[in-house]
Symmetry: C2
Subunit: 287 residues, 2 copies
């Protein structure tokens, strides 16, 4: 059993349309509020060697990244912290607070719990004008498929490439980039926290078309043999870049470094170099 | 170390004023949005014998109760669920969804995680007109101290009084009551999830005055020897009644059953029958 399969259970109870985007959408006067929540915990998310400050930073960053993926501006964060050792709280809160401040958000509330394992749930609220909001749906055949930055760096660190440590320990969500892309009129967007491949399948799920990328165009993490680097970029998790589709006439979007890696196609497939792309990446699984 | 002491650490980082109420407050056009988050997990919150549905219900109810404590109407809930056994998800989601529906809220988003222990964080958003919002601060000397319903029932079940099982397993947050009290102009309010005594100290912390109650006036759970019943009502956790202060000229508030148990006083003490009330109740502690 994996989390994406389990999501169909949730869809049956709360409705499918509530499960397709990085954030929920709430009417907010003439603007839109977006809302998202993320659970992280020691055994699967907080890697050995991370400081408490980095754990707090990461916990805020993952939620802020979901807001960035909608083209919205992060505003408010709530943090529920379950602690096995209370001594970690100050560092965690300072890291989360610094990350929020860096990206224009404020910690407005939270909960402190005693827990067998350090567990942090960050909930983020952002604001965006309806016209500039970008959902996972909206891609049209012919649109370019693009990614910001370089994927696979976080996973590269886990496989021994220590130069990529900060990509995993102090992720920098693409907040300014997401808003510029939203204003520029990109057609669909999300963050790539579970690898390019799974993100393409998430976009596939939310759209009626297909997605084809070229392996030679995928930007690869530096200092790693090419085949391994490609594996990391496509299937590794823990990066917080944005993947988006862009109508050709709106490309290039000024002010955001990104790479075109493919195109939206009519065929209902996710392809790489003409072959079906493996649906594999960072997932929670239950045995 | 206990959670209320640890909160002072958080105050030093995010600001004291952000830590005094059941909910954070966000401007929302001509209304106010209130936001709150709560972490619950198997070893401390989900009692043996609870069904998955009841676990889900409780997880939504605790957050909805915080919204009720501000006099607000619950609107949106996000649910992060960490599962050791994925089979529990459907029941948990159904229970949470039913609780939300019962109280006028909708589950708009969430996260599914694999976790060593069933852990649920519910985040709730509510709406209220600024004039009808009630904070923990605002109590004035002479105001009556009042509680809805009967406290101590959830703890009574834990001590063997099985007739009180549903109080613990299926808490009914005082949503309608909270809004009526807010519109009636009560001066301060919060929910009593950690017992009357700790709630009085929380009100004490948020106000510049003191609080005095009479033990004979505290409504007691039925079918329990009086001394034990009083202990449960004052110091037991897991009930979701409202405690509030009410200017004498606004009492009685029509349509809400409640009991007057004392008065706000000038003296900076929390008293019961003229003696200092023990600061004790449901708390998370670290050894």
């Amino acid at each position: 059993m994996d989390d994406r399969t389990l999501l169909t259970t949730v869809m049956g109870i709360v409705g499918r349309e509530r499960c397709l985007d990085d954030c929920a959408i709430i009417p907010f006067g003439d603007q839109v509020m977006v809302a998202t929540t993320d659970m992280l915990h020691a055994s699967t998310d907080f890697v050995c060697g991370m400081t408490d400050w980095q754990i707090g930073w990461m916990s805020a960053a993952v939620t802020i990244s979901d807001i960035a993926g909608m083209g919205a501006a992060p505003r408010y964060v709530l943090l529920a912290v379950g602690l096995d050792r209370w001594e970690q709280l100050a560092g965690v809160m300072q890291g989360a607070n610094d990350c929020c401040t860096r990206y224009g958000a404020t910690i407005i509330g939270g909960d402190i719990d005693r827990h067998g394992e350090l567990t942090i749930v960050s909930t983020g609220l952002g604001i965006v004008a309806p016209a500039y909001m970008v959902k996972r749906s909206g891609a049209r055949p012919g649109d370019l498929i693009c990614v910001t930055g370089t994927c696979g760096q976080a996973q590269a660190f886990l496989e021994g490439y220590t130069r990529h440590k900060l990509a995993l320990f102090e992720p920098q969500p693409r907040v300014a980039e997401g808003q510029v892309l939203g204003r520029a009129g990109v057609s669909a967007m999300m963050d790539i926290s579970d690898g390019i491949a799974l993100s393409l399948y998430d976009l596939f799920e939310a759209n009626d078309f297909g997605f084809e990328i070229e392996s030679a165009k995928v930007p690869l993490p530096a200092g790693i043999p090419k085949l391994q680097a490609r594996e990391l970029a496509l299937f590794g998790g823990g990066d917080y870049e944005l993947i988006f589709t862009c109508p050709e006439e709106k490309h290039p979007v000024a002010g955001v470094p990104y790479t075109v890696i493919g195109r939206v196609i009519h065929d209902r497939h996710v392809l790489i170099d003409g072959q079906v792309l493996e649906k594999r990446g960072y997932q929670h699984t239950w045995g």
